[in-house]
Amino acid sequence: MKNNKLLQRIFWLIFLVLIWQIVFWSGRFSPLVFPSLTTIIKALAGSLYNGELTQQLLFSLLIISQGLLISLVLAIFMALAAHFSGIAASLIDTLVALAHPLPGIALMPLVLIWFGAGRQAILFVIIHSVLWPMVLNLRTGFSSIPDIYILVGKNYGLDRLQILIQIMAPASLPYFLVGLKIGWARSWRALISAEMLFGAVNSIGGLGWFIFQKRVFFDLPGVFAGIIVIIIIGILVEDLIFNNIENRTVKRWGMKS
């Protein structure tokens, strides 16, 4: 079943690639607009080989993991505070209502003035795009934990901290994972677009900066190479990491349909 799915995916990928190449061969479009597969693959291999792309990719992934981690810790604290205190809940809900709908990119001009164009600026935008959906999902997660689990925990003599770790954490995991997925998707987009719009944030720059550079030097195969890397990372994270975590946890436990 799983194998079959993989085969189908590979089939469709080859199908799309084939169409691409046929369109290129048709000569209907200038190669400036529609470069051939070989030039794209050459550009990709070249950029990977000279280490430029690899470094920028690592930089992007590093800063995004950092942003995710910080947001995670913040979100857990905020959601817990809101869960246990009414005042904190109203404050945090207000903050979420204000900040959640605001695209990180819209904040960028201000962020540049507050933080400069450095790492912190990008980090800020990433945290902004991850934190709020994360808090929202954790809030829902905590409040949808059935009372009975907590009662059982108390009945067997667990203290508050034990209840938090042994019961609330796994019981809200499905929501936590949803929050993490949304957070990942949003931060990945925020990162790429922030880098593309506002340039390198250190001497190396990230994947967005790579694409931007290719764009300003009018190197379309290079732009495609960058896009392919983004797609591959997206698939890897989605299929390998998230699906794996889900299969080992919530799906295995029957907590997700």
Binding site: I148, K154, Y156, G157, G254
Partner: protein, 248 residues
Amino acid sequence: MMDYIAIKNIYKSYQQSDERRVVLENINFSIEKRELVALLGPSGCGKTTLLKIIAGFIETDTGGLYKNGERLSGISSNRIMVFQEFKQLFPWKTVLDNVIFALEAKNIAKNPAEREEMARYFLERVELTDFFDYFPYQLSGGMKQRVALARTLAADPEIMLMDEPFGSLDSQTRKNLQDLLIDIWQEAQKTIIFVTHDIEEAIVLADRIVVMDKNPGRIKKIINNNLERPRNRAGIEFGELYETITSV
């Protein structure tokens, strides 16, 4: 002589929309050590409420619970509740781990290996030998209630509070579990308070039956059940007792 457990003068009311509704009125009875007492009454008479009060989950308006003359308050792992709901098991733990949870929580046994061995024992006790590594969602309702029973036994409480644990099972499964409970009770020598609205279940299980009525929830009568064990559901005396209770 001092009672093992004494329930004295309990009143409990809830605010419901704009009126205060008395749910339990003047509840008094006592329980002896290793006794199996059934609370029997129609839906809404406050059985669950009373059991939760005994477990310490909710407070009374007046009155309280005494053990050997001393007032008990708060939740305690000495009085463990088995709920009516199947979802009382932790879905993220296997059957075995759900039982180990109780052992860990009460710090029973010296090391993980020993705990696992004990957990296996309790699961075998409730006849769930082949399902150690199953997750709760893979079990039937009856199996889930068996695991809950094993978990409670593993925690080794003095008093087990059982709130219609077999209420939503088919009659065959139910009978099996009733028999199993009696075996375990006789062997483990626990005190059990068993809530039910099924007269037959009360007669099969209990030494004493506390018959309740509703609006407000109160005790109508306490009936001793001295039928010889194992009890024969088709016996004449069984039928007579059934009649007595219905006529209350």
